[in-house]
């Protein structure tokens, strides 16, 4: 569990002050994967570095499993660091050590005896699928393999929290997938809470339960991905869900339909059955005018623009809303005529 409250951090850069984080609050529940997204310079790395205890915030608190980590010193700081596994942005492996040697590093810091260290390293390399690369040096590993070693190293000392800063930047889609699979396994098999910083929405789409959008040092959106996608106008929704023909504005009706609406459906049951069931139950003719189906993690999510024709169109919509469909109706224009 990570709780960040009112975190602020600014830097002095050749005389002028740069506010990297401005009153940022964020929490990631136990065992969840939270994606932090934002454009370059938004403050993502600064946030990750503050939580990694590499950067001292100007104000605010950072708690991991309830313990405040800001202002710790000496051995207590080092002990706190062991509870937070970090995959830094960029190349972070020791080039003079093998994959196994790199994974062993945190275990040496924690003074784990050699025999235990070896078995733990083997476990972790197995978790990231690199058992056969144990004695290979980083220069002979691919970018994706290096990142997986970095993840294994971050997990070595059994932290409760894993922070990964751009773990997939500069990787191709297939390699990205292998790294994300590893992060996902860390959560599901080890139960760690994961915070992953990325500018790549595909990362959020694939593994995030929660998401926070940073913009110029502030959190502009934060919540569960599946909640945010159904919020009309949210950035998450507009980037993650299929387009429903932007060129044509949503209109209350047109010649061929009594009602036109945008419907967001979350989950197998809703995506599979809600529309046909509404159609048959209320005897309305329902046509899909745009949109499509996507998948967020394991959950299918659909966003359609639908046109309904029939006397009970309104009731059908209402029924869908009662069944957790997120429906955005077009505002009714004054004369009730299609524009």
């Amino acid at each position: 569990m990570i709780t960040v409250e009112n975190l602020s951090k600014s830097f002095t850069q050749n005389g002028s002050r740069v506010t990297a984080l401005d009153n940022v609050s964020l929490d990631v529940p136990d065992g969840a994967v939270c994606g932090v997204v934002g454009t370059s310079g938004a403050g993502k790395s600064t946030l990750a570095r503050c939580i990694s205890l590499l950067e001292k915030p100007d104000s605010g608190s950072i708690r991991v499993d309830g313990t405040d980590l800001v202002g710790l010193d000496g051995s207590r700081l080092r002990a706190a660091r062991r509870r937070i596994g970090v995959v830094p942005q960029g190349d972070s492996l020791l080039r003079q050590r093998t994959a196994a040697g790199n994974v062993a590093l945190p275990l040496e810091s924690a003074k784990v005896p050699a025999a235990q260290r070896r078995s733990r390293v083997a476990e972790l390399l197995d978790l990231v699928g690199l058992s056969d690369k144990a004695s290979v040096y980083p220069d002979h590993l691919s970018g994706g393999q290096r990142q997986r070693v970095a993840v294994a190293r971050a997990l070595a000392a059994k932290p409760s929290v894993l922070l990964a800063d751009e773990p997939t930047s500069a990787l191709d889609p297939a390699t990205t997938d292998s790294v994300l699979t590893v992060l996902d396994r860390a959560r599901s098999e080890l139960g760690v809470t994961v915070l992953v910083v990325t500018h790549d929405m595909a990362v959020v789409r694939r593994i995030a339960d929660d998401v926070a959008v940073l913009e110029e040092g502030s959190v502009v959106e934060h919540g569960k991905v599946l909640d945010l996608v159904s919020e009309p106008g949210s950035r998450i929704s507009s980037t993650l869900l299929p387009e429903t023909d932007q060129a044509e504005p949503l209109r209350p009706n047109d010649r061929s339909h009594d009602v036109v609406a945008e419907v967001v459906l979350v989950g197998f049951a809703a995506v599979g059955a809600l529309l046909p069931e509404a159609s048959s139950r209320f005897g309305v003719e329902l046509s899909i005018l745009g949109g499509g189906l996507t998948r967020l993690g394991d959950t299918p999510v659909a966003k359609f623009r639908v046109g309904l024709s029939g006397e009970r169109s309104e009731s059908a919509l209402k029924w869908m809303i009662e069944r957790d469909a997120h429906v955005r109706r077009a505002p009714v224009s004054v004369d009730g005529v299609a524009a």
Binding site: R81, R95, E108, S109, D139
Partner: protein, 228 residues
């Protein structure tokens, strides 16, 4: 032409002179590394990019190192002569020359070592910091370990500089190939002795460079293939 020293005599001069030069260079390099490495680590740690930035202290250490480093060796030789006499009982000969050589070697190597440590990728160092490792551990397992190739290279550069310094010391009774070249060669108008000493100095420098390259390759694991 009857004045020309026979090769057997040249050899008789060259053998102890070479041994003396090697002895001076190796011992002073050793002292230079033993003293200069911690100094170099200290320089790096206190620098703005180090793990314990201490700007004022850093500037002081830095100034001391650079001032000693910039004293011309001949001057240093003379300046420390009385100190040498106290330490080894005399101011001439190869053992006495080790004192100024070592004093020159320590800051020389310290600066090279600090530069080598600065080249270690800061992300790698930070990754180690986040594991909760102590600073001492990071110095050993990350900084010194990752910079090992550059550090061995720095030892080589120090050795080469000391061969030159040791030869210079020969001019004022330092012993070794320098003395052979200047005392027995140049002042005695004996070109054969002079150039033999010069060639031997060159061969020595070349050999030490080869040795450095070989050790560098040995310790640098970056491009090593899996040692299954």
């Amino acid at each position: 032409m009857s004045e020309v020293t026979p090769w057997s005599e040249v050899l008789e001069l060259a053998r102890p002179a070479t041994v003396q030069t090697i002895y001076m260079v190796l011992v002073s390099t050793l002292i230079g590394v033993v003293g200069g490495l911690p100094l170099g680590v200290w320089l790096h740690m206190t620098s703005p990019v180090g793990l314990s930035p201490r700007p004022v202290l850093h500037r002081i250490i830095s100034a001391v190192v650079d001032v000693v480093r910039s004293i011309p060796f001949v001057v240093l030789l003379v300046v420390v002569a009385s100190f040498t006499r106290i330490l080894v009982g005399k101011a001439i000969g190869s053992t006495a020359t080790i004192v100024p050589l070592a004093i020159a070697a320590i800051p020389f190597f310290a600066r090279l070592a600090a530069n080598a440590l600065r080249e270690v990728n800061s992300t790698v160092v930070e990754a180690a910091v986040t594991t909760g490792a102590s600073k001492m551990r990071i110095v050993r397992t990350v900084l010194l370990s990752e910079a090992r190739a550059a550090l061995v290279g720095a030892v080589g550069v120090t050795m080469l500089a000391l061969i030159g310094y040791a030869a210079m010391a020969g001019a004022i009774g330092g012993g070794g190939l320098g003395s052979m070249a200047i005392q027995n060669g140049y002042y005695a108008y004996d070109d054969r002795v002079l150039y033999s000493a010069v060639v031997l100095l060159g061969v020595l420098a070349w050999g030490m460079q080869l040795l450095t390259d070989w050790v560098t390759k040995l310790v640098d694991r970056r491009r090593a293939l899996a040692n299954v």
